[in-house]
Symmetry: C2
Subunit: 270 residues, 2 copies
């Protein structure tokens, strides 16, 4: 591989995934990943622009940011790009009234959305709310529609909680796609529109930005397809086989966010 | 289409799907489809060989047959080809110890199977047991295995209960396939081995047999790929769009089993 100085040349902005990079979610609010609190502080103290770009769809941004602040992170709601607000904008633009197959923790993000007489389904990381009955309700709504619309907040396969690997929204999205013979519209990573909206928020072009995430496909592959560079951290859901992924090769693999920030501060223009 | 006499020439044996053809399952044991009790009796009184070929995986064969007999059907356990016993044979042959993601009603079929320290997952139509926690357990078992084996009892998209359309095992199989990046082995329709074992049980060649089912893909398409002919009934999960399916064309569409049996008795050799 080329030296880091070459790989990171011209970087002006950084997109940070949250779960698995800043912290591992789990009981009691989860735990910060060692060195990440300081790494975020150093990054925000540098000349690099920083934006948090998450597929978190179990919690509202307010709840997520509150949890991270309690763990010591310097982060505010206005710095976070998350799929629920992006989905709300799409629902309003297209006059869609969703059946919400979501976690109660994110319901407040949809407070202004009309959910009567549904003409689409929105699916998110619903956790325990992925009961058979709720899945069947969503399925029945879709099967009644002439043009079924399924909007999925991300399509992640799984994430890591402190207690172990947990199924994310993607498998349940696939289940409804197969049951109804349809294709979901994904809002969130790896959708290019989603990365672009995060970049717009900090006024940085894709070729000047680097994404840091623990998901080789959703974070690294998705960002690279948008023309960004991307580093994978060996925390969160990272698995050693990711470094030999058949389709995606990160621009670099680092042990954790702290190492990524060390490299960025060392090799990007001061 | 050719006249029925031509389409049914040389038929010596009939495979009958159960759910959606004989009865609609549901609360209180379900309800017989009008004319089906008499149709089965007439068929079994004819010279045609008859075998029931079901993907039912919520109930043991004993429970299923008991329920059908209470509805008036002439049927015994020995006449039913079902996926759970076929799966048990595979588990034994290959020394597999499954984590069972199944309905309690079918658990007795796996009574002789060692389920300690699982080295595979068996998934069936688990209904309400498709909780997030059970799905996550199955996922975690698979992710721990070097060579993950997922055996699915059928891969149906949905079936019809008296209360409406219900998600079948297929969507949940797809969810685990996507989560783990693997491909399931399907035991049951439309697997060719499964149709063949049903034909063997009545000593009839595929070209001499006709399948009667309500599932255009699993029953009709699957049987045709085995060299059988296949009729779709307009009962159960049948939807009008099935008659214009992009890939599968039945050898005939009939209103119900009674009409299918009328045609068979009229047009096959006495």
């Amino acid at each position: 591989m080329a030296p880091w100085g070459e790989r990171l040349a011209g970087v002006r902005g950084v997109l940070l995934d949250i779960s698995g990079v800043l912290y591992d979610s789990g009981a009691g609010g989860g735990t910060a990943i060692a060195g990440s609190v300081e790494a975020v502080a150093r990054l925000k103290g540098s000349r690099l622009k920083v934006r948090f770009c998450t597929n978190e769809s179990q919690k509202s941004r307010a709840e997520l940011v509150g949890q991270l602040r309690r763990l010591g992170f310097d982060i505010s709601e206005g710095e976070v790009t998350a799929p629920a607000p992006a989905a709300c904008q799409i629902l309003k633009e297209r006059g869609l009234r969703p059946y919400l197959l979501i976690h109660d923790g994110v319901r407040s993000e949809f407070g202004q959305i009309d959910t009567s007489n549904p003409n689409c389904v929105v699916i998110a990381d619903a956790g325990e709310s992925f009961s058979y009955q709720n899945m069947n309700n969503a399925f029945q709504v879709l099967m009644e529609l002439e043009n079924p619309v399924l909007i999925s907040l991300g399509k992640g396969r799984y994430y890591k909680e402190t207690s172990g690997l947990m199924l994310d929204v993607g498998p349940y999205m696939k289940a409804l796609e197969y049951a109804c013979g349809i294709k979901a519209e994904v809002v969130g990573k790896p959708s290019p529109e989603f990365f672009k909206s995060a970049l717009q928020a900090i006024g940085v072009e894709a070729h000047q930005a680097v994404m840091i995430g623990d998901d080789i496909v959703g974070d690294v592959g998705g960002a690279q397809r948008c023309g960004m560079r991307a580093l994978q951290v060996r925390t969160g859901k990272f698995r050693p086989s990711d470094e030999h992924h058949p389709e995606v090769k990160a621009d670099g693999y680092v042990d954790n966010l702290a190492e990524a920030v060390d490299l960025l501060l060392q090799h990007t223009d001061k």
